[in-house]
């Protein structure tokens, strides 16, 4: 995700196009207010898609280990 426009977050000022570094939760808060936009990062799907209700390290659809 990257900033879609100039934005002040806390005491830090970001310029349009600056990459967002942070958690999915905060990114979703910012995205749904038009502050962030996708930039091709793998994080984008988690931010723009349905709400994630389980730990991201659950590996989602990763194949089970073969014995």
């Amino acid at each position: 995700m990257r900033f879609a426009r100039d934005h002040k977050r806390g005491k830090t000022a970001y310029r349009k196009g600056d990459p967002f570094v942070g958690t999915v939760k905060v990114a979703r808060f910012l995205f749904h207010r038009g502050i962030l936009e996708p930039d091709g990062n793998p994080m984008d799907a988690l931010v723009t898609g349905p709400k994630v209700t389980k730990q991201v390290w659950d590996a989602f659809d990763a194949p089970e280990e073969q014995e």
Binding site: R5, D6, H7, K8, R9, G10, K11, T12, V21, G22, T23, K25, V26, F29, L30, F31, H32, R33, G34, I35, T53, K54, Q55, V56
Partner: protein, 155 residues
């Protein structure tokens, strides 16, 4: 799908509360949506209205948590606030209060123009969690939270 940025809100500020249990010093990754406060939110000795805007909210939150003296501070989310509790969040908070489980609140704040945002996470223990079942609705929730740590703008 329209996003919040496509919509127009009459409210000046925008605040979202979340709740999670955890361990001191570690910000949780999974949160329960607690609701969006409206009207007046009493934070310790500080009172602010959403209509006052983001700056006053931040000032009130920080003043309540930090205060004039060091050490833990009590945050009171009083019944004057329309706290929209989700069922899951209510159950989690009820259990945390009963078992004295270390808990966190995350407060995401944005101004109406979306030019400024702020996130505050506070951790601590419940000292009170009451729900008045007198038929006046979910706004009659009283939470007193003894905050012992604070994170401003956690990534």
């Amino acid at each position: 799908m329209a996003t919040r940025a496509d919509l127009t809100f009459a409210r000046e500020g925008d605040v979202v509360l979340s709740f999670a249990t955890g361990t001191p010093g570690n910000i949780p990754t999974i949160w329960q949506a607690l609701g969006c406060p409206k009207g007046t939110w009493t934070l310790g000795s500080s009172t602010a209205s959403v209509d006052d805007g983001l700056d006053n909210w931040c000032t009130a939150v920080e003043a309540s948590i930090e205060g004039a003296s060091p050490g833990a501070k009590t945050i009171t989310l009083s019944g004057s606030m329309e706290l929209i509790l989700s069922d899951d969040a209510y159950i989690d908070m009820d259990l945390a209060e009963l078992a004295n489980t270390y808990s966190f609140f995350q407060i995401d704040m944005a101004d109406s123009a979306g030019t400024s945002t702020k996130t505050i996470v506070v951790g601590g223990y419940f000292t009170q969690f009451d729900h008045n079942f007198n038929g006046t609705g979910p706004s009659d929730v009283t939470v007193t939270f003894r905050a012992s740590e604070r994170f401003t703008d956690p990534s």
